[in-house]
């Protein structure tokens, strides 16, 4: 079967066209490359995922009250800890980053007297019996509270998430992700103005 040749009736583009297109494509490629390179540099120089300080509307505000039963059934309140620095730590036993940060919290709490710096663990979507077993296995003797409303009051978006509350009961910092003892020490020093 013979092919039919249909003559081109529309004017051909100027001769300089393809050359100009190649030029444009080259500049677009250079631009895209520069953006990708900038992204790589940005991601590579970001701080590690631990001790990440994140903004929150409640930073600088009075900490919302946390109140609920502790692991022994007695009522635990955040306001009862007024006068000392409190690290409010939202966690669950099924959360892997929480499991990883727990030894760091143990180290941090051992470095500071409890009447000066206190960790307060808030159970997030977990069973108190599992939490008791978790503490028995991994250590840690700070108070634990079961208050399901606290996650809304503090605007928690995921776990682990921690809030440093100063001795006057004001939220000073929000930390998302796992924490480290060294990071918390540095944070505390800066918060105390030392």
């Amino acid at each position: 079967m013979s092919s039919t040749v249909v003559p081109e009736v529309r004017a051909a583009p100027p001769v300089a066209g393809p050359q100009r297109d190649r030029h444009t494509a080259r500049w677009v490629a250079v631009g895209v490359g520069a953006v990708v390179l900038a992204l790589i540099v940005l991601l590579a120089t970001r701080p590690p995922a631990a001790d990440v300080i994140a903004p929150s509307p409640i930073v600088g505000q009075a900490a919302p009250e946390i109140e609920g039963p502790g692991l022994d059934g007695a009522t635990v309140r955040l306001s009862d800890l007024r006068g000392r620095w409190v690290l409010v730590n939202f966690f669950a036993t099924w959360c892997v980053p929480c499991q990883k940060e727990h030894p760091e919290l143990v180290r941090f709490s051992q470095r500071h007297p409890a009447d000066e710096v206190q960790v307060l663990a808030v159970i997030y979507d977990d069973q108190p019996a599992d939490v008791a077993e978790f503490f028995e296995k991994l250590g840690g003797d700070w108070p634990v509270v079961d208050d399901t409303g606290a996650k809304v009051d503090f605007g928690v978006r995921g776990i682990p998430e921690s809030f440093l509350v100063d001795p006057d009961g004001v939220v000073r910092t929000r930390l998302i992700g796992g924490v480290t003892a060294a990071g918390l020490d540095g944070l505390l020093r800066r918060a105390e103005g030392r």
Partner: protein, 158 residues
């Protein structure tokens, strides 16, 4: 047989009949849930529908069964029962989570870009399309030369 399209009245009759049908459909679609006075449960559900699930993607607090969304729904219901207005409840949640907890972006500040960019994109795209089509139309048409005609005749086997 009548001329194609018929009289103007007959031509527009279909469209005229569509008006009440579309109107009723819109009324049913938009107002179906609003029958009767707003109860506390309905108000709480409506507010939860305007709030993002803080721990999941693409779901409202009304749709998600995550513990964070369940807690938000309980808090909303408690505040509605306490007599707070919708705006007060939403303001409380914004005060805890930040403005991005709202599913509907604000119409001012940087968030307004969410509304403005699609419109700007549409206008720019339509403008570019019109310009391209005009330019194509204005391109000179080259008339076939005798050589072109000969080639066509040859190809068609005449």
């Amino acid at each position: 047989m009548s001329a194609p399209g018929g009289s103007p009245l007959r031509r527009w009759l279909g469209y005229l009949l569509l008006v009440p049908v579309v109107g009723v459909a819109l009324l049913v679609g938009a107002g179906g849930d609003d029958a009767g006075p707003p109860t506390a449960a309905r108000r709480a559900a409506s507010i939860a529908g305007q709030v993002r699930c803080p721990t999941c993607d693409g779901l409202s607090a009304a749709e998600s069964e995550s513990s964070a969304s369940v807690a938000i729904r309980q808090e909303i219901r408690r505040r509605v029962d306490d007599g707070e207005t919708d705006q007060q409840v939403l303001a409380f949640l914004v005060g805890r989570y930040g403005r991005d907890i709202l599913l509907t972006p604000e119409g001012s500040g940087v968030a307004a870009l969410v509304w403005a960019l699609p419109v700007a994109g549409f206008v720019l795209g339509a403008g570019a399309l019109i310009l391209t089509m005009r330019r194509r139309r204005s391109e000179p048409l080259r008339s076939a030369t005798p050589e072109d005609r000969r080639l066509v005749e040859q190809a068609l086997g005449r």
